[in-house]
Symmetry: C2
Subunit: 186 residues, 2 copies
DNA sequence: ACTTTTACCGACTGATTAGTCGATCTAAAT
DNA sequence: ATTTAGATCGACTAATCAGTCGGTAAAAGT
């Protein structure tokens, strides 16, 4: 693993465990096994690192959801696959998910403008808009829909994290939760 | 306004705008118009202040929801009143809401144990459990239900905050959103 | 009246932090 | 072979921060 990647991985873990300001850059560097200067060679400021990490994770999520794209099935099934795919991914990428949440509700989020954030999940949004035009789902403001779906995902993930369910039971919950989501947007 | 209250109010604003570690205790004291030592007279540590603020807001929310209690109407209407009451409160207490969200997803949340957090909205949870037993709402794990409802509220609030709707339009959204919530839990 | 407790002040400190800088070390380009 | 450019190092610094302390003033208790 190259040093830059190592920095990101370590930063992710520390930021989630101790918060943004609660994590010193020197601690990240030390734990990542690189020199202090190396961190600042790749990221000019701590803020840069935080935003780079956010974008990195967002892109990985988008890419993963993308891999579930299947234009041939009907919309409900197509959307279901993506939702389930995302939730299963969240089970195995807990830190990534928690980082996104922490970032969302932190003052750092307002450093990126709203447009730029949305751009990172552009494909997904476009698909929702398209589905709305074709009357597969209820007509409502796209921002509203996104907020609802996002927070539903967060809710399920949060429940699963603090629950003591077995992996099998968690998967069961995920599969069942889709029906409710569909009812919400349909 | 007494000094202690002034400290809490100032801390709320600064924590939301700059984050927990991004806000220096000296800055809180200065902006609240009290001496540095006074802050530490009331709160032994910064962490104490953060948790006291969280509890203060949680209690105010609980109290406000409580004021909408009305045992005489049927459950759907009763729950609606509480939901609408909460959402309207959130419109006028934006900072309080954002603080709760920030706290939830910060490492500070894990300093309080889960039990203690739930206790602060005990009444609401008990009511939900009761309603479930009497088959007013779908039978499902109480934690699941709470996570879903909580995050739905967050979602609507988040949408309203970043939207450019007039106060009247916002109220319209709130009233409409209840139907979806009811479907979700029913 | 006097004693104790509480409210409040602000200068001070030891520790920590983000970020800098000049040096060394590659590895590719010419 | 020599230049150039990026990668990596770690000691250093100026600034900042959480929390302390010794003191004064005002309430509260007796």
């Amino acid at each position: 693993m190259d040093k830059q990647k190592e920095i990101l991985t370590t930063a992710l873990k520390l930021f989630v465990d101790y918060g943004f300001h609660g994590t010193a850059t020197s601690k990240i560097a030390k734990e990542a096994g690189v020199a202090n200067g190396t961190l600042f060679h790749y990221y000019k400021t701590k803020e840069d690192l935080i935003i780079a990490l956010y974008i990195d994770i967002k892109l990985r999520v988008a890419q993963h959801i993308e891999s579930y794209r299947d234009e041939h099935t009907e919309y409900k099934e197509h959307f279901k696959k993506q939702f389930i795919g995302l939730m299963l991914w969240s089970l195995e990428n807990d830190y990534e998910f928690r980082f996104i949440q922490q970032f969302y509700f932190s003052p750092y989020a307002s450093l990126m403008d709203y447009e730029e954030i949305q751009k990172l999940s552009k494909k997904g949004c476009e698909e929702l808009e398209e589905a709305m035009e074709q009357n597969h789902i209820k007509k409502q403001p796209i921002d509203y829909l996104i907020a609802i779906v996002n927070n539903y995902v967060f809710g399920i993930q949060q429940y699963l994290r603090q629950s003591k369910l077995t992996p099998e039971e968690k998967k069961e919950v995920i599969y069942n939760s889709y029906e409710t989501l569909w009812i919400m947007i349909h």
